[in-house]
């Protein structure tokens, strides 16, 4: 008999533990769903200390993963950080809560160049969190001559010396631009030509790597590559001979944005958090920890006095602070809708050759 009651006790105890973990009181919690290594712990701790709101920071590894999860009906997240093309999809599918930026006291801190972009005109649903570029990185001591355009990479001298992101839109986009087409083309003929062009590049490709392409550049295995600005910055920190340029044909600009998913349970806390991230004191924490570009002008001004050394390296490297000539040549990747399947099949075919 004693054993039975022990068993019952265990089950009841279990139920209590489980239910205690499930529920959440309104406005004392904020559920953040974002990329990992992207939001500084200090920023979250400061937010909790200021407002008494506990932040749960859950992570995903791609926009698609986050989108799939939300589309399947996962709810409970208050703030997410989707990239520009995902924002466009989510707005179209009515998956985001509108944001009234006039209620965000710190919205004016943002650099006017990085608000009101095509993926969310008027910032009705999102505010930029961090931004960056995808362009050409090379080690100037290794390349035969400094590349100026993407087409230079087709030079046989680069045999087995290129590292490319394992990203179909970026790599196909590069080939499309080399051919003089739009990087977001949905034209079947143009896309097929782009695949043929890429097949010509194949002997020069050392590997595809989206996780840490900088390692191949640092080790000298690869001389040049198509990488994110974050990768280029990491390579530059290890090796000052690394250069990062936007080739003549053009390169990519991307934005990751703070947004509130439809039906978020703690929207008041979410708005507080959005404004908190825009606070210069908090925003510099992001730049101090992660190698991306910060759209917050006031934060960069503050960084100049708070951390002059970091400010100088931030401003002088085109990976973090691209000059206007670089920026003028950038274009975003946009959602190509149904053409995505064509991209998928051409990319798979190209990679299997």
């Amino acid at each position: 008999m004693k054993k039975i009651s022990l068993f019952c006790f265990l089950i009841i105890g279990l139920a209590l533990i489980l239910s205690a973990c499930g529920g959440a009181q309104k406005s004392t919690t904020l559920n953040l769903y974002a990329w990992s290594e992207y939001v500084p712990q200090q920023l979250l701790d400061n937010f909790s200390a200021q407002y008494g709101i506990t932040v749960n920071y859950d992570t995903y590894s791609s926009n698609e993963e986050m989108l799939a999860k939300l589309q399947a009906g996962a709810s409970g997240y208050d703030v997410i950080i989707p990239s520009d093309y995902t924002v466009a999809i989510m707005i179209k599918q009515d998956m985001l809560e509108p944001i009234d930026v006039s209620k965000l006291a710190n919205f004016g801190n943002l650099d006017s160049r990085f608000v009101n972009r095509d993926y969310d005109p008027g910032n009705k649903y999102t505010i930029p969190y961090q931004w960056g570029t995808t362009a050409l990185v090379y080690d100037k001591t290794l390349v035969p001559s400094a590349p100026k355009s993407w087409v230079d990479l087709w030079d046989p001298a680069y045999n087995g010396r290129l590292v490319l992101l394992d990203d179909e839109r970026e790599v196909m986009g590069m080939a499309l631009e080399v051919l003089g087409y739009d990087r977001n083309s949905t034209n079947t003929v143009e896309l097929n030509q782009a695949e043929q062009k890429l097949i010509e590049l194949k002997p020069n490709i050392l590997k595809f790597d989206s996780d840490a392409p900088e390692t191949a550049i640092i080790s000298g295995e690869a001389w040049a590559g198509l990488v994110y600005n974050g990768n280029a910055s990491l390579a530059y920190q290890e090796d000052p001979n690394v250069e990062y340029i936007c080739p003549t044909e053009g390169c990519t600009i991307w934005f990751d944005n703070l947004a509130i998913p439809k039906g978020a349970p703690h929207q008041d806390a979410a708005l507080l958090f959005l404004d908190w991230v825009l606070d210069p004191q908090q925003s510099i924490l992001i730049s101090q920890e992660f190698p991306y570009s910060n759209p917050n002008k006031a934060a960069l001004d503050l960084l100049k006095t708070e951390d002059p050394e970091l400010y100088d390296s931030y401003m002088s490297f085109p990976g973090t602070n691209p000059p206007d000539s670089f920026l003028a040549n950038t274009k975003p990747i946009v959602d190509v809708g149904d053409a995505t399947t064509l991209y998928d099949s051409l990319w798979t075919d190209f990679k299997s050759r």
Partner: protein, 259 residues
């Protein structure tokens, strides 16, 4: 009984198989002590990454979640799985074969299918995703594994022992606690160990059933790899390998002692 020594080729072959399995893990462990942040080349010895790891609040939370889910799901799955195995061993009932097959289907169906179906199910009944849903899902996929292991142990278990106990005046319950359970304990323990390890490193089903505030270590590590591969991940994996290794050794010892 003559003990033949294995041939040279067999020994070389075995060595290669073990090397294939353990060399990458060994390299991973060595590189957790690397001073270079990008972990491309060996630069020097440091314990810095273990310090970073122990100060990482997110990792701490993920570890807590993982252990909580693993222990609760193991406990519940072991109880239910053992009961199921006993029932299947003792009784023949209508649809016996069907229920036996259905029981083991979760072992063979792809995890993705199970993950998706659980997610759709939880969303349909309006159950908030979180630690509870992950735990329930882990219990679900662990039951068949426990049942399988316990049934293997029950194979050849003589019901006459139970009958003898009851002949001597023990009731059903006392017989279970004093006779049946101690006999099958090694099977129950290895079933529990298997369930624990499966729950600890499950990614796919956990990913689908996770909600706010319930990121587990495998989820966390996977998302870390995508953005920054630092030796912190190696350090974490090293500790993980050690824990699982100790658990397995413990399970082996427990089994050998009772067997």
């Amino acid at each position: 009984m003559s003990e033949k020594k294995p041939s040279l080729w067999l020994r070389i072959y075995s060595f290669m198989v073990y090397g294939f399995i353990y060399a990458p893990i060994l390299i991973l462990i060595i590189f957790s002590f690397n001073t270079q942040k990008l972990n491309v080349r060996w630069e020097g010895f440091t314990l810095e990454w273990y310090k970073v790891l122990f100060n990482d609040a997110q990792i701490f939370l993920a570890t807590r979640n993982t252990l909580l889910i693993a222990f609760i799901s193991t406990l519940v799955a072991t109880i239910i799985g053992t009961m199921a195995a006993l029932a299947m061993h003792r009784y023949r009932f209508p649809l016996y074969n069907t229920s036996e097959t259905v029981m083991y289907i979760p072992i063979v169906i792809p995890e993705v299918v199970m993950g998706i179906s659980l997610l759709v199910f939880f969303v349909m009944i309006n159950f908030t995703l979180g630690l509870t849903t992950i735990t329930l899902s882990h219990i679900a996929f662990n039951i068949p594994f426990v049942a399988l292991v316990v049934r293997a142990r029950l194979h050849g278990y003589d019901r006459a022992i139970d009958e003898a106990a009851m002949d001597l005046g023990a009731n059903e319950l006392v017989t279970f606690w004093r006779v049946t359970l101690p006999t099958i304990m090694p099977g129950v323990l290895s079933g529990a160990m298997l369930a624990l390890t499966l729950s600890l490193d499950d990614y796919v089903i956990t990913y689908f059933t996770a909600g706010p505030g319930s990121t587990t270590l495998p989820l966390r590590v996977f998302s870390m790899v995508k953005t920054a591969v630092t030796p912190e991940i190696n350090a974490l994996s090293t500790i993980w390998v050690l824990i699982i290794f100790v658990l397995l050794v413990f399970g082996q010892i427990a089994q050998r002692k009772k067997a």
